[in-house]
Symmetry: C2
Subunit: 381 residues, 2 copies
């Protein structure tokens, strides 16, 4: 192998695929990244893979001699990150390939030798057995993921609930996630007509989608992500980057039936003002006691917030709101409430309520069509 | 007690004194800060104290009723940090003082009640039995601490070596610190004549001096820090802030006799260029292997740096230097070397050397009069 590339292209690709390299690999070679240089293409492809999530990125390089090798991800990142801007070359002698060759990495200002491991010992990324692809607009993905992904469970024993359920139905994409205590659903109409018109419904691990969020965070508004799906795997592709993940098996809960259709009362409130007040009273909330009490005074349109930590003290705030219905008291897990308020992107929001133990719905009054359902916490006197 | 003060004054004082509040207090009250409001003075004083280091800060406040109370530092910081700019009031009923009263903290946008503990249960800060004070210019302190403090030992069993030795001799202040592997000495002439002319020599715990560094980091160049000293304690004072610490007992090593006076060879090198090269080769240095090899080629005035990690690989750099003497090889602990190079504030520096196992001296060629002594590491072949 002999290649010459730019430090910045290499650094960017490497930091992307390194996110799929496990910090404590179950097998040593999974701590490496795979580097493939193809002669005809003048292109180098890097791959990181932890057997669940795979990330691949290609960049332009001068390929003088083709070759395949794996290198320790952490050391390689350290080396490349410290190099100055400019050309970097990689080379090793193919004849030494059987003995884990020393790969020479040379730049304007330093010569490194790094022990490689043969590429054919690196596991193959699963391939997708289809050419059918769905084109997903980047803006729809950004909005949908921001609105729903935070509600997925982080408890690995909850399996299907650790993923986000993505449904395509005609022109609309629906993103849903729930951990059993709260549910977030965002419905986004695709702005642009695409060639494919098939519908799908699949559950994707949160971790893969968090990486997808990072990949699309810098792309332009009119980009599309290609999605390939088969029975077990999905692949997202954008430009020269791709992300491979297994799908989550099993039936996703029929969440739409959990959302009440009629309500006895409602509150309209300025979202940022409510967040600021909740942040202040939350100083008395902790792992054991994380309930904020909402006390609605209909006559004055006031929402009294309070958090009580019996031994330490308490905090109270008053927020001006618009109340429909009579005086009412209800308790929330302050963390779940804040998560939802922060994911919403609207100046004003509406709480729709029934009884003090029945699910509460929060909707933005503008922007993304989103529904956040949160179960109240029982107030003990 | 009833006081009204500004959120920003309170926040600044509180975050200062909280640095002396232990995160795991040996006695619950040490997790609190002491708040004293004196009627005549219209001033509030906060104190944090971990029985070794004490910090005190005063600020102007409207004192409607005097009082003394302690409040949990962490919760109080959380509350005050979340409040908007503006007035904050503290009040409690003196008649409830015996029962750990609830202290009402009110601001424009929230009411808090926080359980206090009587101030007379809080330990007294040690007092200094002298009115004699030394005036230390802030600029001299900044330069001296930056140049030497990093070399103090962090190993608590090394007692006196965990401190910095500060000597005043006529117009000059000398800062010295060593951990047994390296020694940093900075000699700074005081720019301004002061009233007091007595000399002193004392060893001060590093932790207290790191806090002093933060206190003086924002003060103006012509400020003076007052230093009060007695047998067991020292106090630094600047404006309305004070820092109290015990002194370290015992005789500080006679470090000046460790510094060689004659040398067989020397290197002059661009400091930043050397730091950049060392950072790149250091990717192969770790806890077990942290030696960088210097290979001096006199004929070409080249310094070859290399780090070898037998199994993983190696790194080499060439730096242009000015060499006096013949070809030579020497090894250094790369961390100790970097620490010294980063503390020096001069474009060019000089290494003065004798044999490969004898102490090496590094001096800046301009700026602060500083000497960094580092013991070489033996090169094994």
């Amino acid at each position: 192998m002999k290649i010459v590339c730019s430090q910045i292209d290499l650094k960017n690709s490497l930091s992307l695929v390194s996110r799929a390299v496990p910090s404590r690999p179950t097998h040593p070679i999974l701590g490496n990244v795979l580097l493939v240089a193809e002669k005809g293409k003048n292109q180098v492809t890097l791959t990181g893979f932890d057997l669940t999530l795979g990330m691949r990125s290609s960049f332009t390089a001068e390929v003088e001699e083709r070759g395949t090798i794996t290198l320790p991800a952490k050391l390689l990142n350290d080396i490349i990150g410290h190099l100055p801007d400019g050309e970097v070359s990689f080379s090793f002698d193919e004849e030494e390939l059987d003995d884990n060759p020393m790969v020479a990495i040379n730049s304007l200002s330093g010569k490194f030798q790094l022990r490689g491991v043969r590429g054919d010992e690196y596991p193959e990324l699963p391939t997708i057995d289809t050419d059918d692809k769905f084109l997903l607009p980047v803006t729809a993905l950004k909005e949908g993921l921001k609105s729903a992904l935070f509600s997925a469970s982080s408890d690995e024993t909850k399996q299907i609930l650790t993923g986000l359920h993505l449904t395509r139905d005609g022109d609309s994409l629906e993103f849903a996630a729930t951990d059993g205590h709260r549910l977030a659903v965002a419905k986004i109409s695709e702005e642009i007509e695409t060639d494919d018109s098939s519908n799908f419904a699949l559950t994707i691990p949160s971790r893969a989608l968090r990486e997808l969020e990072k990949i699309i965070s810098t792309s332009s508004v009119d980009d599309f992500v290609s999605l390939y799906v088969d029975e077990g795997q999905i692949v997202f592709e954008l430009d020269n980057q791709s992300l491979t993940s297994r799908r989550l098996d099993g039936a996703y809960p029929n969440y739409n039936q959990l959302i009440p259709k009629t309500f006895e009362r409602s509150i309209v409130v300025d979202r940022k003002m409510l967040i600021n007040s909740l942040e202040r009273v939350s100083v008395f909330a902790d792992g054991k006691n994380n309930m904020v009490k909402f006390n609605l005074i209909a006559s004055t349109n006031e929402l009294n917030l309070s958090v009580e930590a019996r031994e330490l003290g308490n905090a109270k705030e008053v927020v001006n709101v618009e109340i429909t219905g009579d005086d009412f008291q209800i308790g929330f897990n302050i963390k779940y409430l804040m998560d939802g308020l922060k994911a919403i992107n609207s100046d004003n929001i509406k709480f729709s309520l029934n009884g003090a133990t029945q699910p509460v719905i929060i909707n933005p009054l503008s922007g993304v069509d989103m529904t956040y359902l949160i179960m109240p916490v029982q107030i003990k006197d």
